[in-house]
């Protein structure tokens, strides 16, 4: 990137000098910018991923006008991709051919491969991270948006993947209201573990509160969520010293064993994976499941479409419990990030970065956070009425976000992830014991990743 920047600094410097003189001189001719924004994996409620950039463009035009520069910024947004797969292919191919978007909203996991391929620019080359509003963004989110020590993106939203319990059922198996209220703290301290979850799930089934297999009712498809359970048993995904991925065989075995136990004890269905999301949402939001885990954005679905009016009276939420010795409670956040692509010239990239910066201001970002039931990206959002007035945003932010970790930005992580999931599926379906699955995982991971992974 450096080379390109040097080349265009001349024009910029001149423009800036001109801008300085502009206060007394006549206006320069207007400059037009077309900024294309593509957001992947977006629901209708995520429209502010694009509209925030449009709002920012309006503000930037006004700011530039005051400085005497007349710019017109056209923002062209797209969120209607069929799925993540097509979105990612369209972005990579588009930028490679020079016809891609200027700004993308995507998973932070794309930063490693995309920066290596040269299709994104480090945002830190274009904006002042030490200045407001960027210096107000949570440090851990900025770190997640970085790769190789370089800040590539700006977090667009945050979320976290909590553990849920159906309060009436907890009450029915003997928890007092005080105990239920204290549960999140017990989970956090590691006092209430994953095996306590299985015990309680079993108790609920024995009491006939839920059907067999509904005591513990996990996510129905692959997702970042499952790495949380690996972490619960002390597993690490990445060694930041050597930059290698880490397969902790002991933690992985215990993590697989936990799900094998859940199925064995009958509190989770053997064919649970693949259950339609629709059915799953309806069941967990109506007390047909005892304990489960999900995402902070599920709140919108539970209280919206599924009609769970009294969420806080029926559902308790916490971090993911510890697995016991050597592990700890945890949660993973998987923020989406704004990235500036290598599309078009430096001038346009500066405008794009500037727009992202403005869109990250607390008030604008809060629009997205609340509408789509995500969490905020910066401290001061809790001072925005719209945010602080929302009980869910407030409590979830306090209880989860400070403890949230993230998956590593590493080029080989996707491969590792696929293999981890394949192993878990085979254990879940009863085709392999946890030991066998971890052994297979070890072989396959070394095959696929070589020196990129270290087995412990």
């Amino acid at each position: 990137m450096t080379i390109m920047k040097l080349e265009s600094i001349r024009t910029t410097a001149l423009a800036a000098a001109a801008a300085g003189a502009m206060l007394v001189a006549t206006a320069a001719s207007a400059q037009d910018y077309n900024i294309t924004v593509w957001a992947g994996g977006s629901n209708d409620a995520d429209i502010y991923r694009v509209e925030a950039i449009e709002m920012a463009a309006d503000i930037l035009e006004r700011e530039m006008a005051i400085l005497g520069e007349e710019v017109n910024i056209e923002v062209d947004g797209r969120i209607d991709f069929g799925s993540w797969d097509e979105f990612k292919q369209a972005v990579t191919l588009g930028v490679e051919s020079g016809t891609g978007p200027n700004i993308v909203v995507t998973s932070h996991g794309d930063i490693a491969p995309w920066s290596s391929a040269g299709i994104i620019r480090p945002v830190e080359d274009y904006v002042d991270l030490d200045a407001w509003p960027l210096n107000d963004i949570y440090d851990n989110l900025i770190e997640i948006s970085s790769f190789d020590g370089i800040v590539y993106g700006i977090p667009q939203d945050a979320e976290s993947r909590p553990f849920f319990a159906w309060i009436p059922h907890m009450r029915a198996i003997g928890y007092s209201d005080e105990e239920i209220a204290a549960l999140p703290a017990r989970v956090q301290s590691g006092d209430y573990t994953l095996y306590d979850v299985l015990d309680d799930a079993e108790a609920m089934q024995e009491a006939g509160l839920v059907e067999p297999g509904y005591g513990f009712y996990p996510r129905v498809s692959n997702g970042p969520d499952y790495w949380q359970f690996y972490q619960s048993f002390g597993g690490e995904m990445h060694d930041s010293e050597t930059g290698q991925l880490v397969l902790d065989t002991e933690a992985m075995t215990r993590f697989y064993q936990f799900f094998a136990d859940a199925v064995e004890r009958g509190v989770t269905r053997r064919n649970h994976i693949g259950t339609p999301w629709d059915q799953w949402y309806a069941e967990v939001a109506s007390g047909q499941a005892g304990l489960w885990h999900g995402g902070t954005w599920h709140y919108a679905r539970y209280t919206g479409r599924e009609g769970l009016d009294d969420f806080f009276g029926n559902v308790q939420f916490s971090l993911i419990p510890s697995g016991g010795d050597g592990g700890g409670s945890n949660t993973i956040t998987h923020p989406l990030v704004y990235l500036v692509t290598s599309q078009d010239d430096e001038d346009t990239a500066f405008i794009a970065a500037e727009l992202i910066k403005i869109a990250s201001e607390p008030r604008i970002n809060t629009l997205h956070a609340i509408l789509s039931a995500h969490l905020g990206i910066s401290e001061s959002q809790s001072q925005v009425d719209l945010y602080s007035g929302d009980r869910w945003a407030r409590e979830a932010t306090d209880r989860l976000l400070p403890y949230a970790s993230a998956m590593p930005n590493h080029v080989g992580f996707g491969d590792y992830w696929n293999l981890m999931w394949a192993g878990l599926e085979s254990v879940w379906a009863g085709q392999a014991t946890p030991e066998e699955a971890v052994e297979g995982l070890q072989v396959a991971a070394q095959n696929a990743l070589g020196d990129n992974i270290v087995i412990r």
Binding site: S83, A90, E96
Partner: protein, 274 residues
């Protein structure tokens, strides 16, 4: 072919085998005009609400008519291209003394064995090289190329069954091979062209991945993507709306089928009907 014998037992067996399909599609139609109280399997209210996409835009999506238009243009262009190219190429393969005929014919069949999805990257490189990436015309050409193996093989089958006598007579009258093909042979394979047209149109009508990946900027949202988007929204999926749009998506093809089914059933053996 009715021969006067009793056929009820054949109909019964076929009927039983078709039960899943009949139930599924019957309820599909019912679900698009009714509402069901949660928890009950039987619909209890009649409504046109799920068809609202016809007269109003669904939030965050393009107008259904625009999308339908795009899909139609895409499918129709592909069809025309496939028909034009395979009706000439297949004739050459069937009737003209060409070098490498056999090689070409076998090769084209083998090509079909390549999973299209894994070709995307290479196709991208080539489109980008010839400047057709991110254009509608590029996607149409690619789709046509992928449909050609089927087209050429089907049309070859038709030409094979046109009696040589027709052509010989034409030649004796002094017509060129081209004239013979255009005036005498082509009408003989009309049923094949119709049938192939139906298949190509169907393939184009349901294409999902190519426009999204090869022309993401060209703003050619097609029906399949529009439809998939309706249940991709995990905050608020609307299944009855999804089913209605799905049915809407099928209607043109069903009509097309009903019109052309006679010709479709003639996909094999054009000119030699007894």
């Amino acid at each position: 072919m009715e021969d006067g014998k009793r056929t009820w037992h054949i109909a019964t067996i076929l009927g039983i085998a078709s039960v899943p399909l009949i139930i599924m599609y019957l309820f599909l139609v019912i679900d698009t005009v009714t509402d069901t109280t949660a928890g009950s399997p039987i619909p209890d209210r009649f409504t046109f609400e799920h068809w609202r996409f016809l007269w109003q835009r669904i939030d965050g999506r393009q107008s259904i008519w625009l999308v339908t238009m795009n899909t139609f243009i895409f499918a129709a262009s592909t069809t025309v291209l496939v028909l034009a190219i395979s009706s000439t190429a297949a004739y050459a393969l069937s009737r003209l003394n060409m070098p490498f005929r056999r090689f070409f014919l076998a090769g084209i069949l083998v090509l079909h064995g390549f999973p299209t999805i894994t070709l995307i990257i290479a196709i991208f490189l080539i489109l980008n090289m010839i400047g057709l990436y991110n254009t509608l015309i590029g996607v149409i050409l690619v789709k046509a190329a992928l449909e050609l193996p089927l087209g050429i093989w089907i049309m070859k089958g038709f030409y094979d069954s046109v009696p040589w006598e027709i052509e010989m007579a034409g030649i004796q009258d002094g017509a060129s091979r081209f004239m013979v093909w255009r005036v005498l042979v082509l009408p003989q394979v009309a049923p094949g062209i119709l049938a192939l047209g139906v298949f190509s149109f169907l393939a184009g009508w349901s294409e999902y991945i190519l426009p999204q990946v090869l022309a993401p900027n060209a703003n050619v949202q097609v029906l399949s993507v529009y439809l998939a988007g309706l249940i991709a929204d995990d905050l608020n999926p609307d299944f009855n709306l999804f089913k209605s749009v799905g049915l809407f998506y099928m209607v043109p093809v069903v009509i097309f089928y009903l019109f052309f089914q006679k010709h479709l059933m003639n996909i094999y053996g054009g000119g030699t009907k007894g």
